[in-house]
Amino acid sequence: MFRKKVFLAVFCLSFVVVEGSAQLPEPTISPALSSLIRGQKFDVILPQAMRDNDVDMWIQVMRGKNPLQFELGYHDGVYIFSDSGSDRVERAVFGAPGDREVYDSFGAESEIGQYVAERNPDRIALNYAADDSPFNTISATDRAKIIEALGSKYGGRVVSARKLSADFLAGRSMAEIALYGRLLMTSTQAIEREFAKIVPGETALNDIDGNVFVRDLAGNEENNTDYVVQPGDLIGILLDANAREFSEHNGGVGYVLKEGETELPPEIQRIWGHVLKTRDIFRRNIEAGRTGAESLEILVEKLQAAGYVYIDRDQFDSGADPEKTQVHIDFHAMGRIASQEEAPRISPTGWGRDLEIPLYHTFALEYMIHMPVPEWGERKYLYLCVHDGVMVTERGIEFPARPIQEIQIIR
């Protein structure tokens, strides 16, 4: 037995992966992870998305670049998903090779008509959209071909797959969530590095990576310009992290101490207090199952009950009560690049406002605080943008990685 232990220890030592520094590695998606995510999406997201959309067949014609390539496959062809009512959605590819680990059958495009007729679907989603949408990917020629292949009986049952595609992409498997968390950690670390680079009086905003902005007390913004960082500035940095088709971005805030200051002045501490207070309001009042618009309505009510003024655009409202801090929110999806826009969104704008927030939805808790500082003069205010990656679970909002902890002090 002892001998076995020694061998095992030697084996284990030989198997340790060596890395070079404490910096987080560039996020990657190994072929195994890619295959795992694809399989999980088919197993646990697709059946629900199809049922929620009352669709029992989904036909996705893929030619060239397509927002669903990661999930479905990179080969041109016709991908068909059929829900026969069991736990599993049948998956077939026509006119293309596909991942045999996740697809059940393969055929020629000429066989599509027969395949569909055998399954007799009531409602067939096809990848077109009536309005402008990244999911409107089928060409007129392909659409005509598919309709012809379906024949008059099934051609009349075709509907847009836009919402189904959005729901499918918005659903998250556990492997995606783990990846999302790693990406959030990466961008947080990168933001910290950017703040560390800043030398007041020397560093210009365009020397700093990311979306970098400073607003003066009247709301005039410098954004990635050659403006040189000055004492008293409240600087926001938004930075992204990417791994193939997956992406997120989050933010940090820094304050440049003025001469004689050793810590954040009271006004800056006060605006940070609003960050924490509003975060708590958001965290306690968002849950899965509501649409983005419904959620917004609830949040606005809660914000107002807590003494805030809600503003539907990211601009200080000079007509509002000068005693009250103003809050703008735009909780958009994050995780998959393609679904950043076409996804549930808790915001005054965007198509996704009417979509239901699914369980495990990953999104940005992006909110902007405009805090009047009357002692500095009329209509003078501090501005701060918070951008943290979150997700919604049965328990409410969770942070898969550490959210912004404080306003960084820049000396």
Binding site: C12, F15, E19, S30, S35, D87, I177, G181, P400
Partner: protein, 481 residues
């Protein structure tokens, strides 16, 4: 036997890689992999102190109120005794410029609370939030608590302060020096007047026995001496309200927040492919290449006897979770029997993934899964040993799915272990090691000959949708030319 062996593999991986990982990722938590986030990825660069601090706060916000209310507890006192840690772990990691100190404790909550010596009190005073107080002691992340009193100046009793104190306060000296940690606790608790006070002592659960960490059994809770001291300090009225926190501790440990799932998901890096250029069939032994066990077996296979047995063409074996097949001359891939065993392994995985959901106890899940396996044509075996009396057309399956990542094996979907492992309900987002073994008979190779594969611990999360893997499980059998 097999199970112990699996643990040993895990333990060795940890012991060998922790210090190494620390050298390259100074931020990564030492010892974390021994009790946490499984044992196979201790170099995970995402397991940082900051992440652990974040996890702790998330659990305080999201899990703590729930478990306390479910157990109808309005105060939880958790005592991690000082003086009890050996220093072994600290000595191993000395000089590595660590930023995490709460090591070398066998308390199951050492990482959860970030301390290896403290008296921590949680009080449910209504509202969404539980009050968090470090009544005595030091913690890694003071910001996670509302009040931190710090370490009692009398913890180290080799000082003059204690001499001064006992001289000046003869009426307020505890009966024994053990009691200094609890001075003032009665008033603190009386001010909060809890109805039910959970304390970390065990009445039923053998937490130490149920520890996943083969070399680091977790404690069953406070000592008899500490229990007496606490009882004395609380007085008759309050001490009568004390109950064991053991079930609540288990519930707290096994409910993961999403940040834990991120760490549980590993580094995301592709696995390095092994090279077997030097394998010579008939000469190279399994031991030489660090193999774990042979997969191509006789009915009465004795793995010990095979340890120095040379690998032959046509052998399948495992190194950890990975499976390898030594090709015969002329073969370009594993033969149909070997591939069929892999398909059987995947079929079992799918059945498990579809049927294990939160809310079932381990036992209920076991019964359900066994039923589904048998419906699918498998034969369930309650020990990891090929049964030659079973229909040779059926693949035999043994199950030992258990919690991984928190140092304990429960909840457990297995015929093995203490009964409470199985009686525990599977919580939402349980981190589960999907450990099962298949024994697929190959009658055409001879009576009793079979192919064995043990999955070890692929990392799954239990969701209402079933099992979802947070990191990729092994994807196939690799061929050795």
């Amino acid at each position: 036997m097999k199970n112990r062996f699996c643990f040993l593999v895990a333990t060795c991986c940890v012991a060998s890689s922790d210090a190494f990982a620390e050298e390259h990722y100074p931020e990564a938590m030492p010892g974390i992999s021994e009790a946490y986030y499984t044992s196979f990825d201790s170099d995970n660069p995402h397991a940082t102190k900051e992440m652990l601090d974040h996890i702790r706060r998330e659990k305080f916000d999201l899990v703590l109120p729930r478990v306390m209310r479910e157990h109808d507890v309005d105060m939880w006192i958790h005592i991690i005794r000082p003086w009890a840690w050996s220093g072994n772990e600290a000595r191993q990691l000395e000089g590595l410029d660590l930023n995490y100190q709460s090591i070398d404790s066998t308390d199951p909550m050492r990482y959860e609370f970030g301390s290896n010596a403290a008296v921590i009190v949680f009080t449910d005073r209504g509202g969404d939030r539980i009050e968090r107080v470090v009544f005595e002691g030091e913690v890694e992340d003071e910001g996670a608590f509302d009040i931190v009193h710090g370490q009692s100046k009398f913890i180290n009793q080799e000082n003059y302060e204690i001499m001064d104190y006992t001289r000046d306060n003869p009426e307020d000296v505890p009966d024994t020096q053990l009691g200094y940690r609890f001075m003032g606790l009665q008033k603190f608790i009386a001010d909060r007047d809890p109805r039910k006070i959970a304390v970390n002592y065990s009445e039923e659960l053998t937490l130490a026995e149920g520890s996943e960490t083969y070399t680091l059994s977790l404690t069953d809770g406070i000592s008899f001496a500490d229990h007496r001291q606490l009882t004395r300090e609380l007085g008759y009225k309050l001490s009568r309200r004390m109950v064991s926190a053991e079930h609540m501790i288990l519930d707290y440990l096994t409910r993961s927040v999403m940040a834990e799932i991120v760490v549980f998901g590993g580094s995301g890096k592709p696995k390095k492919t092994r090279s077997f250029e030097k394998v010579v069939p008939g000469v190279t032994t399994l031991a030489t290449i660090g193999g774990s066990w042979f997969s191509t077996r006789e009915a009465d296979h004795d793995e010990e006897a095979f340890f120095n047995y040379p690998l032959q063409q046509g052998d399948m074996f495992q190194i950890g979770m990975d499976a390898y097949y030594v090709l015969h001359d002329g073969e370009t891939g594993p033969p149909p029997e070997i591939l069929r065993s892999w398909d059987e392994m995947i079929r079992v995985r799918k059945i498990l993934a579809e049927h294990i959901v939160p809310g079932l106890t381990g036992e209920e899940a076991l019964k359900l899964v066994v039923h589904e396996l048998e419906e699918a044509g498998f034969a369930y075996i309650d020990r990891d040993k090929f049964d030659p009396s079973i229909d040779p057309t059926k693949t035999q399956v043994h199950l030992d799915l258990h919690q991984v990542g928190k140092g304990l094996l429960a909840p457990r979907i297995s015929p093995m272990g203490a009964s409470w492992h199985r009686e525990k309900e599977i919580p939402l987002f349980l981190t589960l090691g999907v450990e099962y073994m298949i024994h697929m008979p190959v009658p055409e190779w001879g009576e009793g000959r079979h192919i064995y594969y043990c999955t070890l611990h692929p990392r799954a999360v239990v969701t209402p949708r079933g099992l979802e893997f947070a990191a990729p499980p092994v994807t196939g059998i690799q061929s050795i030319h």
